[in-house]
């Protein structure tokens, strides 16, 4: 009997399993599909501290950024393409540049390093950037990983047992307490069950009779032909990305996010729209992403797109992930709802949850991520202190 059952073999589930195993626990990971078959497999692999305002998610991101670096060192050369390439946020107008610089000053107090870059100096960072930009901010801690490989490597820990192709159909209970899971391959009992089902985390929660308001927020990515020489060094995006991430709108929002990969391709995002789980390619969305990328990097004009794909970010109404024990179903823990930041936030999520499960005090306050914060009577703004 495992100590911990993790539902979901995406990067968050993998990190939960990894840190629990490192804490000496015996872990079984279940997934109805393969490793990283959901949103992880559709991610760009962002590990970002640059796109968050001061607050609990930023603290999580700063911790996670440090943990990714440590994991990459442990993994060695057979790793997951960890690339600490830094992020460059660019501003179209002097007013936006002033706001970017002000935000950077605020986040510096939380451990985010940055350099404010003038319009003239931008090409020292990115030689192919369009002219006429007002400036930007360089964030050296931003990094990228190959998310599927990262999930797979994290699951490679010796005391993690991975079972793919197993669908969780319910929970076993003793009174209120969750004592294990029911699956299409039989029951499995465990001391703790972690819901790391990402965009499908709400459905898993519902099986335990609790509500998590996680919705899919679709995003498309364009992938170019492999380029013989790297054209883009950093993850480069426009300031609009920050506001779009934080937006509640259901309609289509796009902002240019452009970066090269070790495979030589250029990845172009990011679109956000709440349209359920519809995979139909939207040519107008692809067209807008292309236009924004070319506007940022005119040299991309003749570069060809060879592929596009979409994924479904697990979106919570307050844009914060759900991390921690669920008081409504003792024994059940959640680690889902990270929206577009799941890759980046995975190690901190797993690390903190392992601390909680082993009875230690988590290194970061988890109350902002409480699973029951969406219950009308339990909204955190009604409490001075978390329960």
């Amino acid at each position: 009997m495992p100590d911990v059952i993790v539902i979901g073999a995406g990067v968050v589930g993998a990190a939960c399993a990894h840190y629990a195993a490192r804490a000496g626990l015996d872990v079984t990971v279940l997934d109805r599909g393969p490793v990283a078959g959901g949103t992880t497999g559709a991610g760009e692999g962002n590990v970002l501290v640059s796109d968050k305002e001061p607050g609990p998610e930023l603290d999580l991101a700063v911790l996670s950024c440090r943990l990714w670096r440590a994991l990459a060192e442990d993994a060695g050369p057979g790793g997951f393409e960890y690339e600490p390439k830094g992020g460059l946020v660019v501003a179209e107008t002097p007013e936006i540049q002033r706001r970017l610089a002000a935000l950077a000053t605020l986040t510096a107090a939380h451990g985010v390093e940055h350099t404010v870059v003038t319009g003239e100096d931008l090409r020292g960072y990115e030689p192919h950037l369009a002219g006429g930009l007002a400036g930007g901010v360089h964030y050296p801690q931003d990094a990228q990983v190959q998310p599927m490989l990262a999930a797979a490597r994290l699951l490679g820990h010796g005391s993690v047992r991975l079972r793919t192709g197993v669908t969780v159909t319910g929970f076993t209970r003793s009174g209120d307490r969750v004592t294990g899971v029911r699956t299409d391959r039989g029951d499995l009992t465990g001391d703790a069950v972690i819901n790391a089902a990402g965009t499908w985390g709400g459905e898993i929660a519902a099986l335990a009779g609790v509500e998590l308001p996680i919705l899919p927020r679709r995003g498309f990515i364009l992938v170019t032909e492999p380029l013989p020489e790297p054209l883009i060094r950093h993850k480069v995006y426009t300031a609009a990305y920050v506001t779009n991430v934080a937006s509640d709108a259901a309609g289509l929002e796009t902002s240019a996010v452009v970066e090269g990969t070790p495979a030589g391709t250029v990845l172009i995002g990011a679109s956000r729209e709440r349209v359920g789980f519809d995979r139909t390619t939207s040519v107008p969305v692809l067209s807008r992403l292309a236009a924004q990328a070319v506007a940022l990097f005119p040299a991309l004009r003749d570069v060809r797109v060879i592929r596009s794909y979409c994924g479904f970010r697990p979106y919570c109404p307050d844009h914060l992930p759900v991390i921690g024990p669920d008081p409504r179903a003792p024994g059940l823990y959640h680690a889902c709802g990270h929206e577009g930041a799941g890759i980046g936030l995975a190690p901190a999520t797993g690390h903190l949850l392992a601390q909680v499960i082993t009875g230690r005090r988590p290194g970061l306050e988890l109350s902002p991520f409480r699973p029951d914060r969406f219950e009308p009577a339990l909204r955190p703004d009604r409490f001075e202190e978390p329960a």
């Binding site: 492999p226 013989p228 030589g264 003749d302 570069v303 060809r304």
Partner: protein, 82 residues
């Protein structure tokens, strides 16, 4: 347009019959590879011959690489191999 003309490959003339693709003209002239792969430096030329495999990418008149098997040769085309 005459039915027989020439193109050049790295400056060397290659004969073409009108309507032939650049890939076919190179292959007929004994030029069997005209690029190398990014990682292993492996030689590549025609493979599928019908625009599916992209092995035969070639730069013509300085343009970005195109599939040689789909590209009708035009008199005076300058092909550069890498």
């Amino acid at each position: 347009m005459s039915d027989a003309f020439q193109i050049t490959v790295d400056g060397r003339p290659v004969p073409v019959t009108r309507g032939q693709t650049i890939g076919a003209a190179l292959h007929a002239a004994g030029v069997r590879s005209w690029r190398t792969t990014r990682l292993g430096g492996r030689p590549r030329g025609l493979f599928c011959g019908i625009g599916v495999c992209f092995d035969c990418l070639v730069s013509v008149n300085g343009r970005p690489p195109e599939r040689a098997c789909l590209l009708d040769a035009q008199p005076g085309d300058e092909v550069t191999t890498s």
